[in-house]
Amino acid sequence: MARLSEANVRLALEIIGRYPRPRSALIPVLHIAQAQDGYVSSDAMRHVAELVGTTPSEVLSTCSFYEMFKRSRPGAYQLNICRGISCFLRGADDLIERATERLGIPLGGTAPHCPVSLEAVECVAACTEAPCAQVNYRYFGPLGASELDELIDGLEAGRLAELPPHGVLSTVLQSPSPDRLAGPSMPEDSGPPAWWERRQERETGKEAG
C-alpha cells in the first residue's frame, strides 16, 4: 500500500549507487519494498520506478517474472514446502498434503485465522535434507509428519519469533564504509582499470629490460 519510507529510500539510493546503471538495482530495491510491507504493492512499484528511472510497467514486468515477489499480502510466515525431485522421492507429496489439511488451506492460500501462507515450491537446494521446507526463506528439514506438525504448531503459536518477517532476507546488509569503496565501473569508462594499465606497463618494461 505504501511508498518506501524515508529510511528505505536512503537505503535504496545507496544500493542504486553501487551499480553502473540504476535499473540494475531493481531486484534488490524490490526486496526492500517487500521487506517493508511484506509484499510489493502497486504504490511501491510506482515509487521504485521513479527511483531506478523507468516506468511502472517495466517494474511490474520484471517483478512478476520472479517467484519470490508477492503482489498481495501473504501471512506473516510464508511456508514453502519443497517438491523438487529429491524431496519428492522422500515423501514431499505427503508432506504437502498434510500441510494443506493441517492449515485448512489450498496451496497458494493463506489461512484466515493463522499467520501462515502455504506454497509448494521447486527445489530449494537442500536436497540432502529432504523432504524440507522454508519458512520466510529459512530452512527446516528433514521433515517427517511429526516435525511438520511441530513446525506448524510453532508458527501458529508464534513460537518462531526469531524468524524475521516475510520479505526480510539477509538480516545483515552489505555496508562498506564509503572510503573503502572503489566505486561502480561505468560502461562509459572505455579504458582498463588504472592498476591494470600500470601492471601492463611494468610487464612490457620488464620484457624490454
Partner: protein, 451 residues
C-alpha cells in the same frame, strides 16, 4: 525442532584431501578470523605478486573445469575477453536452483571468504573492474554470511580500494536474486542483473565474455569454480591436478540425494571416484535407503539424461559421462530405487521445467507445458496409447533427434532439458506408462471401428 544439523565429517573426508570444503565443519570457518587462521587471503597476495597473464596461465594449466554445469575450462574462458574492450565485469553465479543440486549454498554459507578471495583472483586475472555476486534469492543465510564476510573483508582491506596495500581495486556487490531457475543460465543472469526479466540471450552472438553485462565483456563463473582459485594459486596447478584425473582435475563437490541411506554433500577427487563408490560406500551415501535396489539415477541434475545400474562403475569423469550420453552437470546425483513411481518422477521433473520456462521460445513455453499436461492426464488415468508416441513427438519438436547434448529449437537448453526425463523414462520404463493407460478406451475405439 527440525532446523537441520549438518552431518559430521566422515573419515573419508580427510581434511588434507579437500580443496573447497575444508572449512565446512569448522565452527568459525565462515568468519574472517577463522579464514585467516587457516591461510586465508594469502592467495590474493601471491597473485598480486604475479602478472595477470601468469595467473591465467596457472589456472589454464590446472584444467579447472567450470562447476556450474557446462564444464568449460575457466582459464580458457577468461582468455575470450576481446582485447581492448573495457571495462570488464566479473559475475558470480550463485543462483544454484537445479533440482538435486546443493553445493554452492554450502560453500557460500560455510566458506564465504574463500569465494570472495576467488573473486579477487579472477578479477585480477581478467582485469575486471567490478564484481557482482548473484546469490539465489531464497538463500537468506548465504546472503547473510556473504554480507558479513564482505563487511569484514572491506574493513580489513581485502576488498574495495587498494587491496592488500596494492593498487588493485575491486568492489564486490552482493546481489540477491528473487526466485527464477532460468536466471542460473548465464545470459539470463546478466539480463536479470540489468534489472530485467531473466530471459536468456542467444549465443552467438551474446557470449558473455564478449558481449555481457551492459554489452561489455563479462566473465560468469560458478561459485564452486571460483572457490577453487585460492587453492590453485597457493598450491599450484600441479597439486590441483594431482587430486583428480585430468582433464577432470581437482575435486568436485557432489550432492547425493534421493533413496540413499546417507544423503549428503561430498567433495571427491574429480574423475576418480565411481558412481558406485559415491552411492554405496559408507564413507559417502552409504548405499540404498531400504531394501529396494537401485532402479535409476540422475548423474548431474534434473536436466541430465538418466543412468541405470549398468552405469554404476563409470567414474565421475566429465569425458566418460559425456560419452555415455549424459552429463555431470551441476554435481547432483539423485538416486531412485525400485519403489519409484517412474511416471510420477518423470512428471515431477517435467513440471519443474514447465514452471521454470522463461516463456521466450515458443517450443519451450508451449511444449513443456503441453508435456506436463499430457503426463498429468496419463497419471490421472485418462491417457491413451497414442499419447506415448505423441510425448516422444513433442519432445522431438523441442529437441530434434532426442540426443545428448541436445539439438535445440530453442535459445537455451532449458526446454530441451525437459525432454531428458521423458526420453530416459520412456525408453527404459515404457511399460510403466502403458500400465497407466486404461484399456477400456482402446477397446471402445476398436469396437467403434468394427461397427
Amino acid at each position: 525442532m527440525a532446523r537441520f544439523e549438518r552431518r559430521k565429517p566422515t573419515p573419508a573426508e580427510g581434511l588434507e584431501d579437500l580443496i573447497v570444503t575444508s572449512r565446512r565443519h569448522s565452527p568459525d570457518g565462515h568468519t574472517l578470523e577463522g579464514y585467516l587462521r587457516s591461510g586465508g587471503y594469502e592467495a590474493i597476495r601471491l597473485a598480486l605478486g604475479r602478472s595477470p597473464a601468469d595467473v591465467i596461465a596457472e589456472v589454464k594449466a590446472a584444467s579447472l573445469l567450470g562447476r556450474g554445469g557446462a564444464g568449460f575450462p575457466a582459464g580458457v574462458k577468461w582468455g575470450f575477453c576481446p582485447p581492448g574492450v573495457w571495462p570488464r565485469y566479473l559475475v558470480v553465479n550463485g543462483d544454484e536452483s537445479e533440482p538435486g543440486t546443493y553445493k554452492d549454498r554450502l560453500l557460500m554459507e560455510t566458506d564465504p571468504h574463500q569465494l570472495l578471495e576467488g573473486c579477487l583472483i579472477a578479477a585480477y586475472a581478467v582485469g575486471a573492474s567490478q564484481c557482482f555476486l548473484y546469490v539465489r534469492g531464497e538463500m537468506a543465510l548465504a546472503q547473510e554470511r556473504l554480507a558479513t564476510a564482505l563487511n569484514e573483508a572491506y574493513a580489513a582491506g581485502f576488498v574495495g580500494r587498494d587491496i592488500c596495500g596494492s593498487d588493485f581495486c575491486l568492489d564486490i556487490v552482493l546481489h540477491p536474486g528473487a526466485g527464477a531457475y532460468i536466471v542460473g543460465e548465464e545470459t539470463a543472469l546478466i539480463e536479470s542483473l540489468e534489472g530485467k526479466r531473466g530471459m536468456p540471450r542467444l549465443k552467438p552472438p551474446y557470449f558473455p565474455a564478449a558481449i555481457g553485462l551492459y554489452g561489455l565483456p563479462t566473465i560468469v563463473n560458478n561459485v564452486e569454480t571460483l572457490s577453487n582459485l585460492p587453492f590453485i594459486v597457493t598450491h599450484g596447478a600441479e597439486a590441483f591436478a594431482a587430486r583428480g584425473a585430468p582433464p577432470s582435475a581437482g575435486t568436485r563437490v557432489f550432492a547425493v540425494s534421493g533413496h540413499v541411506r546417507n544423503p549428503g554433500v561430498f567433495e571427491v577427487p574429480f574423475g576418480v571416484t565411481t558412481f558406485r563408490e559415491i552411492i554405496y560406500d559408507d564413507r559417502y551415501a552409504g548405499g540404498m535407503m531400504g531394501e529396494a535396489p537401485l532402479k535409476a539415477f540422475i548423474p548431474g541434475g534434473a536436466s541430465a539424461p538418466w543412468f541405470f545400474p549398468e552405469h554404476l562403475d563409470l567414474p565421475l569423469d566429465k569425458a566418460k559421462v559425456d560419452a555415455a550420453g549424459s552429463m555431470l552437470g551441476s554435481g547432483a546425483i539423485v538416486v531412485m530405487d525400485e519403489t519409484t513411481d517412474i511416471p510420477r518422477a518423470c512428471h515431477n521433473l517435467v513440471r519443474f521445467f514447465a514452471r521454470e520456462s522463461c516463456g521466450k521460445c515458443t517450443p519451450c513455453r508451449e511444449g513443456t507445458t503441453w508435456l506436463e499436461q499430457v503426463l498429468e492426464r496419463i497419471l490421472a488415468g485418462r491417457g491413451s496409447r497414442s499419447d506415448l508416441d505423441m510425448l516422444a513427438d513433442i519432445c522431438e519438436n523441442i529437441s530434434p533427434g532426442l540426443r545428448w547434448p541436445p539439438r535445440m529449437t530453442t535459445i537455451c537448453p532449458l526446454g530441451p532439458s525437459a525432454v531428458s526425463p521423458i526420453s530416459s523414462a520412456l525408453e527404459r520404463f515404457r511399460s510403466e506408462f502403458e500400465a497407466r493407460i486404461p484399456v477400456r478406451k482402446t477397446l471402445a475405439v476398436k469396437a467403434a471401428a468394427l461397427r
